[in-house]
């Protein structure tokens, strides 16, 4: 096997140094009756054979569908320079930067990532990353429970149902209760119901912007309401939209979370992704996960270290703010390189481009007789089409035209059987959108 460097002779030499006759003697502490007698795993293969085999597996998956499927996970362009950096093995074969002096590369990059996300969200501080946008909401909720010492969670139903399901499992298995609040007629958070649910047992209100239905909102008024009852506001965001949209900081939320996949990461069948989390300075000691801080060395040179570690499991054990250890550092690096390449003005241009394509597609799609937009609120890159027939049938037919038309919503929302969530990124051309409109029209 090429991944073991020692030859048989070298192994024999080491055994001789140890005064042993065979490697088996090293395993003498394991009672012999416990040793495995069989292992049903195939014989090892060469790299060439494995490559062919995996290529064949890849070809059994969709490879040439035009993607209008979003739902929080988007088909964005990734500049080649992102991969060029993340494939540098000085980064990807390193461990967590516990030895700061030989980890300045990853530590400085995390500090820069924390800065970039703080600027994007206009929040005070950002951690070094969490697993994904969904578990980031769970961590934010647990953080709010710790800060407020309350246990009731109010969740807007237009927070991604994919994330709400995770939150429901956490709530059922951990120590808090959650209440889902249906949206108002315009597809946005229902102010009245939320106001009536907010009370002095409420730890936090969980919102998403743009929400799962694609509707854009300003939740400043909800943040004010929540704060009046001593509750926190958690807002899940879509980072590309922050090129145009009002930031979580501007809306006075307490914890911003998000899925960072759109920042230079491939869709990769669901992961690895990147959990974003940013908060206000006053809550930093309740924040989960690693944080990098600036400092100096003995000669006064600037350097970076892991800091505020007394929050973390390797020090506080059962009293830690979270059990998280491994995070998504390499994905955070990808996001930082992406945001660097895109830059201050590029991000706004990109957001405008996505929005323009979406507006064009909406205009064209709504020209098809029988199709309506479910909610009339402003949209960013995604919206719900209400069809005259079952959305599943439409999606199924268009798959055979090599179009991934969108996400049928009946699975998540019982009254939305005829609804389909469609998304548009900068990658979709006018030609592709026109083809989609034409094919959809023919298949109703």
């Amino acid at each position: 096997m090429p991944y073991i460097s020692n030859t048989n002779e070298e192994r024999a030499k080491i055994l001789a140094e140890l005064g042993l006759n065979s490697i088996d003697e090293l395993f003498k502490d394991i009672p012999s009756e416990l040793m495995s007698s069989s292992l049903n795993i195939p014989k090892g293969k060469s790299e060439l054979e494995v490559r062919h085999f995996v290529k064949e597996l890849a070809s059994k998956n969709a490879t040439d569908l035009i993607c209008f499927l979003g739902g929080g996970f988007y088909d964005h362009f990734v500049p080649a320079a992102v991969g060029a950096i993340t494939s540098r093995s000085e980064f990807y074969t390193a461990y967590t930067p516990y030895q700061a002096e030989v980890s300045q590369g990853i530590l400085q990059s995390i500090y820069e990532y924390q800065s970039a996300i703080s600027l994007l969200t206009e929040m005070d501080v950002t951690n070094a990353s969490l697993y994904d946008g969904g578990t980031a909401i769970c961590e934010a909720v647990m953080m709010a429970v710790r800060i407020t010492r309350r246990k009731k969670i109010i969740i807007d139903e237009a927070v991604s149902p994919i994330y709400r399901k995770i939150l429901h499992s956490y709530a059922a298995n951990l120590d808090f209760e959650s209440i889902d609040v249906p949206v108002g007629k315009d597809g946005r958070a229902d102010r009245k119901t939320i106001e009536s649910e907010l009370d002095n047992n409420t730890a936090c209100l969980v919102l998403q912007n743009p929400n799962f239905f694609g509707c854009v909102d300003d939740v400043t008024d909800l943040a004010d309401l929540a704060h009046k009852s001593g509750s926190l506001v958690i807002l899940s965001t879509y980072p590309i939209s922050l090129g145009i949209l009002k930031s979580p900081g501007e809306m006075n939320v307490d914890i911003a979370t998000g899925e960072g996949q759109s920042l230079g990461l491939g869709l990769c069948f669901g992961g690895p992704y990147l959990g974003l989390m940013a908060t206000r300075s006053k809550y930093v000691r309740q924040m989960p996960g690693r944080i990098v801080g600036k400092t100096v060395d003995k000669n006064g040179n600037r350097g970076f270290v892991l800091t505020l570690q007394t929050r973390e499991q390797h020090i506080r054990r059962e009293k830690a703010t979270s059990n998280i250890c491994s995070n998504e550092a390499l994905c955070a690096l990808a996001a930082l390189v992406y945001l660097t390449l895109v830059g201050k003005h590029g991000l706004t241009e990109l957001a405008e481009l996505c929005n323009a394509k979406t507006c064009y597609a909406r205009k064209r799609l709504l020209e098809i007789p029988g199709i309506k937009q479910k909610f009339k609120s402003p949209i960013f890159n995604e919206f719900i089409l209400e069809l005259p027939i079952d959305a599943e049938d439409v999606v199924s037919k268009l798959m055979h035209k090599k179009i991934m038309a969108g996400l049928p919503l009946g699975h998540y929302y019982k009254n939305m059987k005829n609804c389909m969530l469609v998304a548009f990124s900068e990658k979709r051309t006018k030609k592709e959108i026109d083809f989609f409109v034409e094919s959809l029209g023919k298949n109703l």
Binding site: I4, L39, A81, S87, H168, C268, G270, A329
Partner: protein
Amino acid sequence: MKLIFEKSISGKRGVRFPECDVPCTCNIPNELKRKNYAELPEVSELDTVRHFTRLSKHNMGVDTNFYPLGSCTMKYNPKICEEVVLYKGLGDLHPLIPQLPDGNKFTQGALQVLYETSQFLSEITGMAEFTMQPLAGAHGELTGTMMIAAYHASRGQKRKKVIIPDSSHGTNPASAAIAGFEVVSVPSNADGVMDINEFEKVLDKETAAVMLTCPNTLGLFNPQIKKIADRTHEAGGLMYYDGANLNAILGKLKPGDVGFDIVHVNLHKTFGTPHGGGGPGAGPVGVKENLVEFLPISRVVKKTDETYALEYNYPSSIGYIAPFYGNFGVILKAYVYILLVGKEGLARIAENSVLNANYIMKKLKPYYHLPYMRTCMHEFVISAVKQKKNGVRAIDIAKRLLDFGFHAPTVYFPLIVEEAIMIEPTETESKQTLDKFIDIMIKIAKEADKNPEIIKTAPHNLGISRLDELKAVRESNLRWTK
């Protein structure tokens, strides 16, 4: 080195987007727009690439240096694994496709990867079934502890106690606590393993589970492990296996055969997927037959017609713990790794990792205090107590090693050994590398006698000297501002 923000020059661009080929309209009213630009850097592509390439040169990785970081299994990662995740149909596959009508048809290759990896892991660990969803080791622990709670609840019991040895990883008590359990710590005995008498004192009908690594974080195998499992089962509790140290027993011993009921595996440790500077990892969880009903949803199944599908209808499941099917990219790398090393390779991994660890331990014994005089498994712990007499501590030795081009071992863990230095060479390192490392460790031990200052002030050769961690906390600066 300057921050990327400090290199920003107004007007520079790192990427160009296609021209807008549709009318450039915007439907978003001004009151929903942000007031100010996010002050992201303005730099060219070259500026970007040069900045991050230079940063990478201020970083040690397994590819550049020996990295004997105990408990982290910093083995070499085969390059083919990095290649396959970029293949079309894998790296770009949308995770929601299986939820579309007939969606499974368009993801058969990916579902096969998930299914077969879970089968491999079940076979290697002696479990009935695996979920591939947990996104890291600690996430696996949380999933496991949630299942422990669900198991007892299904039997009408609300057991509150999880027993954990004092040498365990910090994530074990942290995960158990988050899942609502009270953590009971059991001391280790003179042989470095959980004291069975102390264990039996705290084991009772309130015990939900016992969480263990095996071999433990001292690199020692507990010969009493079967007895611990039997006692736990007699008391109605479950045995949880923290797979951090699975490398030592691959192909030799299946945790399921010892009596473990739940196992999490760190793919980024044992199965050759790189650590990424702190992540992403993956922490799949396997269970015995009596716990299968509690596994998270969705689950990948193989149908009688040899196709793969996702199933959701499991009423006793703990529910969803991740958005999709786990860190697929990491799982794919582990899958490829298992295909490459195969059945015979797995046992050779364990043998060589244990051989390499014992070799270093034997060679260092005359120079450093060895708290447990036993054959070790894949790692071992020495103590710097001898050197401490000259004012040289474990952290100083760690920093001095950096001067010689070695990454430091894990220090001050496990917590039960004073001035602990935990060394795990892994199977991929050669005798030549081990000999160089041994020579330097001996040199440092000698320096500790003759010239302790040079160790206490290390590192000297890195362009950056020891960093002030206290200042980082005191004058907390966690981001750049304009």
